[in-house]
């Protein structure tokens, strides 16, 4: 922007102005979507621990983290997928299918570890199906995953019907419900932290991760610059399937319950959280710390409001409003900035000479 207005005034423009470096460092780090979401999260936590009774009790923290853990897990690969301008609506169905697989195999006398690994493998297979249809056949991922959403859920429901399997080895259900000794933090946060670090490094510090942004911004350009777009997307869908499969095993253990309709509707919660965390649905924008803050924000708000006696439907309304505000505010701010720079440009044009603005 600065470069364009400057050169239109006939002044010598610097050879290249990187938009990001046009602002001081503190602005670049603090005035971002991610920082805003994190600030909002801290604000909600601060207000809730002062005004809501029992919010700061260890039990609340435990239950909060336990319940959001599946969403946190799935949000990681979902972020990567949305950054490449695709979407995966089938994740919750994969969770359900994986949960049913775990249940049926355990019931059939398999050792639990083998059953769980098979369930994760089923998740991988689901991801392969999605990835194949999107990258090899070349279909839009929205349509494909609406189809596989119904397909995987249908297989899960078809396998178990209305029965539920509730008999799981106590050793494993205890682990799923246990806390890290001495803290109110559930054990599931350890694999989550490991996965989060892996995904963060993958997304932000590897050529593979950077190529995701390139694909999301311009697929053709990415292809021409030597990125194998199809293979990259295929890997992402498989990752998403694998993580969803793992989340399904955890979900089964946490509630000691394998049913076909487990985690119904979770895909929308995951996507809402990811978008709230600053990932653009148009692709090419977003960061993992924002997404994690987004998931926690929705979870914390829900938990605080529930403790304050607000019914869960209002929480849904708030989730929706937050989601819309987060995207509308982004385009509103962009519009405002465009207007401001246009106004500045006009003023400069009239005055003829002006000091360097902004």
């Amino acid at each position: 922007m600065t470069a364009a207005t400057a050169s239109s005034n006939g002044r010598v423009a610097p050879a290249r102005v990187y938009k990001l470096h046009a602002r001081p460092a503190w602005r670049r780090f603090l005035l971002t979507r991610e920082a805003a979401i994190i600030a909002l999260l801290i604000l909600v936590i601060a207000i809730a621990s002062v005004t809501v009774r029992n919010f700061d009790s260890p039990l609340t923290v435990t239950y909060l983290l336990r319940d959001v853990a599946p969403i946190l897990l799935i949000a990681l690969p979902m972020t990567l997928i949305i950054i490449t301008e695709e979407i995966d609506l089938s994740v919750a169905s994969i969770v359900g299918l994986s949960s049913v697989t775990t249940g049926i195999l355990t019931n059939a006398g398999w050792p639990f570890v083998a059953a769980a690994l098979t369930a994760i493998f089923v998740g991988v297979l689901c991801g392969v199906v999605n990835g194949f249809l999107v990258t090899v056949v070349g279909l839009p991922s929205l349509a494909v995953t609406i189809g596989t959403l119904a397909l995987f859920r249908g297989i899960a429901v078809g396998l178990l019907g209305t029965t539920a399997i509730t008999d799981f080895p106590e050793f494993w259900t205890d682990i799923a419900k246990a806390n890290i000794p001495g803290t109110p933090i559930p054990v599931i946060m350890i694999p989550f932290a490991i996965l989060a670090i892996i995904f963060a490094v993958l997304l932000h510090f590897t050529p593979f991760g950077r190529s995701l942004y390139a694909i999301g911004l311009n697929k053709e350009a990415a292809q021409f610059s030597g990125i194998d777009v199809g293979r990259t997307k295929f890997i992402l869908f498989v990752l998403s399937g694998a993580v969803s499969g793992f989340a399904g095993v955890y979900f089964t253990l946490l509630y000691s319950n394998a049913r076909g309709d487990n985690a119904m509707g979770m895909e929308l919660q995951v996507i809402a959280a990811v978008l709230l965390g600053g990932v653009s649905i148009f692709g090419g924008r977003g960061a993992l710390h924002g997404v994690i803050a987004g998931v926690l924000l929705i979870g914390t708000l829900g938990s605080a409001l529930r403790l304050a006696g607000v019914t869960s439907d209002i929480i849904n309304v708030i989730t929706g409003v937050l989601l819309i505000l987060s995207v509308v505010s982004a385009s509103f701010l962009a519009w405002l900035q465009a207007r401001r720079s246009a106004a500045v440009g006009k003023k400069k044009g009239r005055a003829g000479t002006s000091p360097d603005g902004s």
Binding site: L139, G154, D313, N316, G320
Partner: protein
């Protein structure tokens, strides 16, 4: 064009033959055949599926509500948008319908219909305005309003539900009565379907929806009123969902806060099965309507064919994937054929 004109008249180029060819190659025909096959198979397995009075009525009645919603979804998808909030709009208007009968005793039926359609249209207007003015993807906006509308519904209804005894008898009769053997609901759905199909095919503004869906930027440059048309599509989708909500109350009598839950994906699925491309600009409401018919008829036919009805959702999923793969294959073939044609014409 001039090249074509100088050629001798070829056999099979009369208007009747062209009509036959068009019907035979139409995307909708395949789905229609699939639908007929399902009906025939179910009828062979159990003749009362079609030939008993109730069977025939249910065959027509069950898909009517989804058909209305699917028409709206198809119109929105044709403009390269998507409306995920229709299920919540159905739920909200169905509850509103019940409340109107309870809170305003003696309200005329037409008032209830107007109220439901207006509320639906207004909710659609919110979607459309947010999508068109904020230039935010419809997927995100309608995902948000899906939550908001459903939340308002649950907050409003609480644990209450509308019971059949709350609704006047002549309103309930709408849901089950027949004229000449055809359920009234189906007639309403058919009238809406024909009107929508005629609008999309013959009116300028209807054709503009296709132009916008094919290439929004080009449509804008060409001078089409993209914003207005997109808002219009969402209003229509909302209003049809509102109409479906009113009829939902008439058909089922009981309305809980979960009415219409999950319909959005069924409606989109119906449109996709019927050949409406999710990337916009392609498809007809006829296809979406047949898709809706097929989806719900399969649901009813599976138990008759001896397949456990727990599997119906898997069949629906396979159907959606099968039809988009088919569309893709057809598109690739046509692409090749057009290239070959160009070589010949040169």
């Amino acid at each position: 064009m001039t090249v074509l004109d100088t050629r001798p008249v070829q056999p099979g180029s009369s208007s009747a033959a062209a009509l036959v060819r068009r019907i035979a190659t139409a995307r909708e025909t395949g789905i229609l055949i699939a639908l007929l096959l399902v009906i025939v198979a179910a009828t062979v397995a159990n003749p009362s599926f079609l030939f008993s009075g109730d069977g025939f009525r249910d065959l027509l009645l069950t898909p009517s509500l989804l058909l209305l919603v699917a028409i709206g979804s198809a119109i929105v998808i044709i403009t390269r948008n998507v409306d995920l909030s229709v299920g919540s709009i159905v739920g909200l208007t169905a509850y509103l319908t019940g409340r109107m009968f309870i809170d305003i005793p003696g309200i005329p039926l037409i008032g209830v219909f107007i109220g439901g359609v207006l509320l639906g249209g207004f909710l659609g207007l919110i979607n459309g305005a947010l999508v068109a003015f904020a230039r935010v993807p419809a997927l995100v906006i309608t995902l948000g309003t899906l939550y908001i509308y459903r939340g308002i519904n649950v907050a409003w209804a609480g644990g209450n539900r509308i019971n059949a005894s709350d609704l006047p008898k002549d309103f309930r009769a709408l849901g089950t009565d027949r004229i000449l053997g055809i359920p009234i609901l189906t007639i309403i759905a058919a009238v809406v379907l024909i009107a929508a199909a005629w609008y999309l095919r013959n009116l300028r503004s209807g054709r503009e929806l296709y132009a916008i869906g094919s290439d929004p930027a080009a449509a804008h440059l060409y001078g089409l009123r993209v914003t207005r048309r997109v808002i219009g599509a969402f209003v229509v989708s909302g209003a049809l969902a509102g109409l479906a909500g009113v009829l939902y109350a008439a058909r089922y009598g009981t309305v809980s806060s979960a009415a219409g839950f999950g319909w959005e994906l069924q409606a989109i699925g119906a449109a996709v099965i019927g050949g409406v491309a999710i990337s916009g600009g392609v498809g007809t409401v006829w296809g979406a309507a047949i898709g809706a018919f097929l989806l719900l008829t399969i649901n009813r036919a599976l138990p008759i064919l001896g397949i456990d009805d727990f599997w119906q959702r898997a069949v629906v999923g396979a159907l959606i994937i099968g039809s988009i793969v088919l569309d893709r294959v057809l598109a690739v073939r046509q692409h090749r054929r057009l290239i070959a044609q160009r070589e010949v014409d040169r």
